[in-house]
Symmetry: C2
Subunit: 230 residues, 2 copies
């Protein structure tokens, strides 16, 4: 135990890294709303001023925490799996999906700024796979960002449902309730929504993510083929 009371320099030095890691822990435990400087300083056994010496403000802290999570996901993935570019794209996307699903607060922040180091690493991975296809280079930017956006935002959507309200209701509970609302609509005004209400209650988030991703990848393949024909 380091000297406990005196207003002195600590041996277990504070640092950006330490603060961010503690923030990730608290975000995982309590969600974005539950991350407060009170909790953070308690866990770090320090005061607000010390934390503010290392990070500019709460926004920046959350941003760095989200980037930290993406970095961990990419690091855990390092050995490139086998298969063609499309299969590896799917594997990459699913790995990131699973990570963001575990850290429900992170997804909305991943693409908030384009210059977070690990977000750029993720985009680099996507782009590297894209470069293996015969998609014209002029479209690489658009397609890569479309995939990145789809990935992060669908996850944000799924995770938001999971952690919307703290305890009491499960993800399934929310879905069932929403599905009942859909089913109760007037079928003449809402023929489509009433028809698919059951699908909402039954669907699996991860599987649906994959279906949408396949839609994107099929579109990509179709565009490559069309380009090649003409």
């Amino acid at each position: 135990m380091p000297p406990p009371k005196s207003r002195t320099r600590r041996t277990d030095a504070l640092s950006r890294e330490v603060v961010v890691r503690a923030a990730v822990e608290l975000l995982d435990e309590h969600g974005e709303r539950g991350l407060t400087f009170k909790l953070l300083t308690e866990r770090l056994q320090t005061g607000a001023g010390a934390v503010y010496w290392h990070v500019a403000n709460k926004d920046e802290l959350v941003l760095m925490a989200a980037d930290h999570v993406i970095g961990a996901a990419l690091a855990a993935l390092s050995p490139e799996p086998d298969g063609d570019a499309e299969a590896r794209m799917r594997a990459l996307a699913l790995a990131v999906y699973d990570t963001l699903d575990q850290h429900g607060w992170a997804a909305p922040h991943v693409i908030a700024v384009h210059t977070m180091p690990h977000t750029m690493g993720l985009l680099e991975r996507i782009g590297g796979l894209l470069a293996e296809t015969r998609l014209p280079a002029g479209r690489h930017f658009t397609v890569a960002t479309a995939i990145l956006i789809y990935l992060t935002s669908v996850t944000a959507q799924d995770a938001g449902r999971a952690s919307a309200v703290e305890p009491g209701v499960s993800r399934d509970g929310v879905l069932e309730h929403e599905a009942r609302q859909w089913a109760a609509l007037d079928p003449r005004a809402f023929p489509f929504v009433t028809r698919i209400a059951a699908d909402l209650a039954r669907h699996d988030d991860r599987e649906q993510f994959l279906t949408g991703l396949n839609l994107l990848l099929d579109g990509l393949r179709a565009q490559v083929a069309a380009e090649h024909d003409s």
Copy 2:
């Protein structure tokens, strides 16, 4: 002018509708962070208690404001345009994109809950167009929600960049700064990102949205064709 001072019932009655409309105004003017009950009660010439009589809390208010915006966008679109289902899908998506682009705060909330009345209206429109294609009914739910999610989340991304910091920097300024950061990376570690850095500065959000949407629609057409072959 109604009686100005006495703590009395007003002739220009408060109502959910009035409160939500005022909230939309303030959100447009000051963004989500700038919407406070102080500003709201000042504009409505009332007190906090009166507002809380009509809405449960700030979260619900923002949700209703976002739904209000979607409702306005759908209403302005009512006459169905010509063309096949795919063309009309594009027109619908672009109209909603433009509306959400004008109300930068709204997009993240549109799909936060599946039971907002006008969100369901939007899904109904998408589904109606989907039903005209030969996509098997079993996939309608997944594809429709994939399109809805793409629509709202790309808009959220674009709008976030526009209104991230209040004044001082334009959308172009942010993009240019981000592009410079990309270009400054080590090309050996980030061959892809450095190569497309110029595209980031040059790209048009709306056009890119359309490209991604076309990717989805091409994928849809390819899947329909494949289904029909087998």
